[in-house]
Structures are given as C-alpha cells and as structure tokens.
Symmetry: C2
Subunit: 320 residues, 2 copies
C-alpha cells in the first residue's frame, strides 16, 4: 500500500502538525483550493456536519495563510484542524497540483500512515458523505477477523497438482518476517517437493496421516534450542518463535488459496535420519490445493466440512 | 466474503460438474442468456481469445440444453467448458433472474469457493478484457506478502490512548482460531488494562522494557505443558501451538492498526506471583496505538524507523 508522504505544516493556530501526528488513528485529509470560496465553504460545512461520525479525525489542507484559515474556521464554526500548505509542497508531493493549482482531493489514511483510498478532482456535492461511507467500510474491514485466519482450516482433501517453487518460497518469506527473541530467527524449513524426496518423507508419516501422501509439497519445520533465547524459568524460545513463524506461514498460504496443514503425527527421529538433520523436528506441513476428497477415509471426509470446534473464548481469556 | 452457491450441472458433453470442481483454483464463471445469439456469441469469442491468459479457468453457464451447448461450442471452436443450467436453478440461487430471464453476469471465484468480484447486467463490449484485469489483480494481491505481515514491526513508540475491550477481545478471538496438536488449544491470555493491574505488572518488566509502561494494555500469554501434546523426541507442543496463536494475534492487531509487540524481558516468576498463575509465562505482549516517540531512548528511537533486519532467506530454507 502507498504511504502518505511525510509533511510538516502549521495549523490555523500556527501550531506544527506533522505526518507523525496521524499515526495510530484513521484520518481523512482533504485538500481544497481556497478558503472562503463557495465550493470550499460548502465542502468544509459538509465535513463539519459529519465531524462526530468521523470521530473528529478530519483535516483540511489548502494553500491559504494561517490567518485566512483562522478566520475561515471561526466564521463557519469548523470543528476540525486546518493546515496551511502555503508553499503547496504537500500538495506537490502528492501529485495533486495541475498547472500550479491545487486539485480538490481527499485521502483516507490508516493508523500506519498508509493511503487506503483517494479521490482526485472531487465534486463537492455529497462528497463528505461518500468519504464517510468509505471511512466506515475500511475500519469495519480492518476490525473484522482477518479473512485468511477465518478461512484457514486443517483441510486434508488435497489435490496433487504441483505448486510452483516461487509460491512455496513465498510462504517461507512470510514466515521469515515473524518476530523472535532478540531477533534470533530460529526457524528452519526444508521444502520437500520432488517425487523422490516426498516418497522418502512418506516413510516417516504415521498411518493416520496417509492423506499427506497426496500433497505436492511437505515442509519440514525444524530448529535447535541453541538457535534462540533460553531464559529463566525454563523458557525455550526456539519452539515459541518457530510457532510464530508457522502462524505467519499459514496466513500467507490461505491468502494464496493453498491449504497448509501442520501435523505432529510423524517419527521425528526417522525424519532426522532421512534428511540428515539434528535438533528438533517441530512439525511437518502439508501444502497443496484443496478440492480432492476421494482419497479420504469417512472420518476425515466428515471433518473436511464440519464446523470449527473451539472452547468458549472465555475459557482462554481473562480481562483484568 | 460471500461464498459461491453450491451447484451440480452437466457440461456440454453431459459430464457432471459441481461446485467442488472449482476448489483449489481461481475461476471465471460467466452467465449468458442464450447460446448462438449475437451478444452471447461475441461474449464467448472474447473469453475464448483470452483462454490462455485465464489459464483455461473459464466456465460459461446458460439455460441451453447440453445439445445446443455442444453445437455452440463446436461451431465457434470454444476451448472452455459450458454448463447447462436448464432449470435456471443455479442462476436463481445467485439472484440473477429477472422476470424469469437470466441477467448476463460474471463472477470471479477464488480457490476457497469465495466470490471475489461480480458483474451483474454485463455489457458485452470489452467485458472479457475487464474481467481479465480484475482476475490478474486478485491473484497478484493474493500472492503478495500479506499486508499485515509486511507492516508488522516490533514498534515501541506507543500512545497511551485506551483500547476498547471489544478490540482487545478481537485479538484473542483471532489467536483462538489457530490450529493446535489434536486441537488442544493450550493458549491462555490475561489481558491487563486497568491502571492498577498494569502498574502491578510493570514491576515484573526488565528495565530495558521501560517503554511498555506507556502501553494501554499488556497481554500475559501463558500455558502449561500438560495443556498440549507431549510427543516422542521431547516434542512439547504447548509452546509451539501458543506461538501459532500469537502469530495470528499479531496479524490481527496489525490489520486493526494496533502495535502488538511480544517481549521476553520480564521476570516470569514474579508475573506468576502477582497474578496467581502457574505453568509457563510464554510472553508479554504490549498493545496500543503507534505514534508517540518522546518517551523512547535514543537506541529505541532509531530502531523505530530502521529497516528490518533478517538473515538471507537461503539461510533458513532449502528446497529439495
């Protein structure tokens, strides 16, 4: 996503206001050519009427002086902050000057300072209402459970269609963006996807994981205790941090339309022997496209479409 | 996201084709009123010309008989599958019948069977090209690194603005959707957000984590070994599975515009004493809005905007 450009301007009261002041909240930043003209007055009044619905997170920007802005604000009882972009540098950086004139434009910026929606060359009528709808929609989507977290299930009905190396590596790339204790990055992955190596790994699977033999790729996730922090009270971060990384991998796979199903049913000592590894074999992850079910036993076929099973949320969380 | 409705129809060759056949790949499913008419012929030819660009994943649906479809396909050398919705039940379920007549419509369905984009009441001219652009854009976005995984950093510059309980619980809800060994769900969370309890927890922080005192919420993540599988070769899944859950929590927090920064710098025995816990205190997570930096020491301030530091991907992955 595109970042909002960094800026540092003065408010109508002559106070500094910068990009950094936006961070942490959603904001509407709207640019208008000239305070006091009829279009700009109408636009300001529209936003002003919706001030509470926008939770006060509106900023108006124009090339006017702080003094003009101060009168404009007072005259119309505007509740939001106005910024003076007197040198048009902010507008310029956003590419909304045309022949030196500011093009009426609006941006929704998210708590990370990313531009989530923009309107360039705005028609004033009904504009603030349209922006409000988009503002609410973005917030609503962001506050919903992440669609990949929601879609992910431990599916077993895998198609054997090969998955490109580029996609398999993308999964590891996502995992490798996880945080870890002192940034030690203890996770290691062996992506097994040749017929010969897959067959070798199949020898280590427990019989209940017969369905993994249809997966076009199996990822061996391994680590060693000494790769990560070992802290007081027997805290071994190698396992926890590898879990974090696999969490990211699962989200990425689901977003890419791939099943990624981690299992514990394998012989870790055999995996180590077969692939010349030591340390801990934390999990194997079956990766592939969903959609083939004829190889599944009755119980697994049923699980494939059964509702998700979780303890009540109140069982795992306390607010204090 | 809206799911494509389940269907079971016959192809122009009289073979069954169902919803399940869509799973695992991206598909374009387009509905047209009558094979052989000029608009429907033009539309079919447009899609046919782009068959390879759509990777062959096009399906045409109409109320025609399989026999009519078979001649239509042969006459125009169509490369893709045509389905006969002779009772218009599929169209009906999708809500694209008007006065009993099929409204020309197109859907892009993703590998999970979710409708990602739809066009209702299609104008034929240039339609297939427009669909192709959307098809490519959706795939490109899905194959990009998840924006929350990419945006997430272990930020320390927290604002003390309170975070609503509803949002804090949403984080736990996401975590609780993680998979675990035999679905044991070993993770436990104490969300600390009252002044009194936060101050109590501050006593357990290491001095380097002074910045956490500005967080409006701190989450104690704990578990016990016996909450999860203990398997051969010393495999303790309580830590790994709790890591998975925290991975999901971090993705959700970032999507919601919140910093969630897990740390290891605290006295776990003190945390247990203070909050009457036993077992393992796996991590504390500081949660809050980003954007206040004046409380950070010089080193931490620099880290706040420094580039991400990771080992080369090739150090953590092998493809075999």
């Amino acid at each position: 996503m595109k970042k909002m450009v960094e800026f540092s301007l003065l408010t109508e009261e002559g106070q500094p206001f910068t990009f950094q002041d936006l961070l942490g909240d959603y904001w509407v930043i709207y640019f208008y050519p000239k305070a006091g003209t009829s279009g700009c007055t109408s636009e300001a009044q529209q936003f002003n009427e919706l001030f509470e619905q926008f939770e006060g997170h509106i900023i108006g920007v124009s090339p006017d002086s702080t003094k003009s802005l101060s009168s404009f604000k007072e005259k119309h009882g505007l509740k939001f902050t106005l910024l003076s972009d007197s040198k048009k540098e902010f507008a310029q950086a956003l590419g909304i000057l045309k022949d030196g004139r500011l093009v009426r434009s609006t941006f929704i910026v998210d708590p990370w300072g990313r531009i989530r929606k923009e309107w360039i060359n705005v028609k004033v009528d009904g504009h603030a209402q349209e922006v409000l709808e988009a503002y609410r929609k973005i917030k609503e989507e962001d506050f919903s459970i992440n669609p990949s977290i929601l879609q992910r299930r431990a599916f077993r009905g895998l198609r054997s269609d090969p998955i490109e190396d580029e996609k398999l590596l993308r999964l590891i790339e996502a995992a490798h963006l996880a945080p870890s204790c002192f940034n030690k990055q203890p996770w290691r992955f062996i992506v097994v996807r040749t017929k010969e190596n897959l067959e070798k790994l199949h020898e280590a699977l427990s019989s209940g994981n017969y369905w993994m033999k249809y997966a076009p790729a199996l990822i061996i996730v391994h680590t060693k205790d000494e790769f990560d922090c070992q802290l007081s009270d027997d805290r071994n971060y190698a396992l926890f941090d590898t879990g974090l990384a696999v969490g990211f991998l699962l989200v990425q796979a689901t977003q890419m339309g791939l099943v990624a199903h981690p299992v514990a049913g394998y012989d870790p000592i055999k995996v180590k022997e077969l692939f010349g590894l030591d340390g801990r074999i934390v999990t194997l992850i079956a990766v592939g496209k969903w959609g083939r079910f004829d190889q599944l036993n009755e119980k697994h076929l049923e699980l494939e479409k059964s509702p998700r099973n979780r303890q009540e949320l109140s069982h795992v969380v306390q607010l204090v």
